[in-house]
Symmetry: C2
């Protein structure tokens, strides 16, 4: 499948979210509309954009936030209506209720005709203090499978996946035209400044590196602002924003600040990817005969 | 195997090289001595540090530059003598003659007692205008296998390997304590300034990302300065130096300029790696059940 357009005008929404889902949704829909009216072909929202980042505590009541992922769901239907009306592809992210007692962290790709082009269930699930995701989400079982849309084949992963070069590589090997990461990541408020800088830099660096390794653009949407820890166990998370779009050499095309709500609208040149992959033909020289240890947890040879 | 020291005082040599091998070697040995006298535990030289980067053309006469890799070889013996005398681990890089008609690009790890601790044969071999390595080097057949030394287990790769997250990951899965990249990379002289910046940034970014993905320090030694293309087909290569040492969050601990001969001497805190891997336990959450596509050249599903 080939990208239909040479330049993909790409929108990214970076918001602060609150407990009121309808309020969050209205804000998102308003920004989607503005970006689409400015010509956006593709709009990426951040992870779990209809709610607070509820994984700061393990609370069974939060399972009420989940819903099925299909066109009948009210929230998805709202995004889908707007996608169809504005003729724009939207990357959304929901707390999926798949079956009683079985939930996923799921990105839903809505095509420009308002249909669900496909979904991706977060494969790598973190579990750190204030990010208790293993309590809420079963690991995805759809693999690292890109989604075909009217704009091309989109390699959508979610948050913690962004730290794994394997995920990006497999998307690229399946013909992804770009890599897309809805995410929710921030600082614990008591971390010292130099540690905060190292964490944010590491997060930017590794995602730019996925662009480099695979000769693909990378689009990252993060939430921004402070959300308290309801349990009081930590000082809450200050989501560090810094959403960005990088080209196929990892070069930053646009980036938002670490502390304000804002949007990106930037052009991604798909011809550039083809050019870069001719100069740097990394896929040609992969030693697939020697990569088998990747499939092991660890090699305990001594 | 555990690192014996908490802080590894790490030296990197960034030189400009000429056609005279003995001259290059003398310069290297002199810098090794200075760094070791300043307390270095480990010293990393750049790729093929005894010669010009001869791969700018395909010329059978250049096979004369190759030699066997063992303690009897005169050049290796010189480095080994110094390693033993100064009690320092040295990462060297040679054009290996393995058998008539069979050559490799081989990093040789010399332990602080002057013995050869192990070698690594470059696995990924490039072939681009002015980097005709597929003509000279057979792809390595030793795998991505770290080398045990008195300082710990060293994950040594060479140059083009640095673009492949698979190589870094497999070294980490085999217990490497650090990742080390002797390299020879530069600009074609007619590339515009913005393209030069993107290339060098991409090269720094992807290697810092190997540190992030694996929670390991990364040490990179590049050559510097201009070497003409003997064939006149291109304008030659200006090696961009920029040798660096990064910590386990990809943070730059020391970096050299892009245009001068110089050395790094910097301390790498191995306790920091343990700490970072507790905070960011990426190895815990790898989806080894879903990585099989990594072993394919490409997935031609449509």
């Amino acid at each position: 499948m080939k990208m239909k357009k040479t330049n993909i005008l790409t929108g990214v929404v970076q918001n602060h979210y609150v407990a009121d889902a309808q309020y969050n949704r209205s804000k998102n829909l308003c920004q989607v509309e503005q970006l689409a009216n400015s010509g956006a072909d593709l709009i990426v929202l951040s992870e779990l954009h209809d709610s607070l980042y509820f994984c700061q505590t393990e609370n069974v009541a939060n399972f009420d936030l989940a819903h099925e992922v299909n066109e009948d769901n009210e929230s998805i239907a709202e995004y889908a209506r707007l996608a169809r009306f504005l003729h724009v592809v939207i990357i959304t992210s929901f707390f999926e209720k798949r079956a009683p007692g079985l939930y996923h962290n799921t990105a839903v790709v809505i095509d420009s005709d308002g249909t669900i082009a496909g979904k991706y269930r977060k494969m790598h699930i973190p579990d750190d203090p204030a990010y208790y995701e293993k309590f809420y989400f079963a690991p995805g079982d759809l693999g690292f499978t890109p989604v075909d849309t009217s704009l091309g084949r989109l390699g959508v992963c979610v948050c913690w996946d962004q730290w794994y070069p394997e995920a990006a590589r497999i998307m690229a090997l399946q013909g992804a035209d770009m890599l897309i990461y809805p995410t929710a990541i921030g600082w614990e408020s008591t971390d010292p400044l130099d540690e905060k800088k190292r964490q944010r830099d590491a997060w930017i660096t590794i995602q730019r590196a996925h662009a480099v390794a695979n000769g693909l653009p990378v689009i990252v949407a993060n939430r921004v602002g402070y959300e308290p820890d309801p349990s009081g166990a930590t000082n809450g998370i200050t989501f560090w924003g810094s959403s960005f779009v990088a080209g196929p050499q990892g070069e930053i095309l646009a980036q938002l600040s670490d502390n304000t709500e804002d949007t990106i609208l930037t052009s991604v040149d798909m011809n550039r990817c083809e050019q870069v992959r001719r100069w740097w033909p990394f896929l040609r020289d992969r030693r697939i005969d020697a990569y088998k240890p990747i499939l092991q947890r660890y090699i305990d040879n001594k």
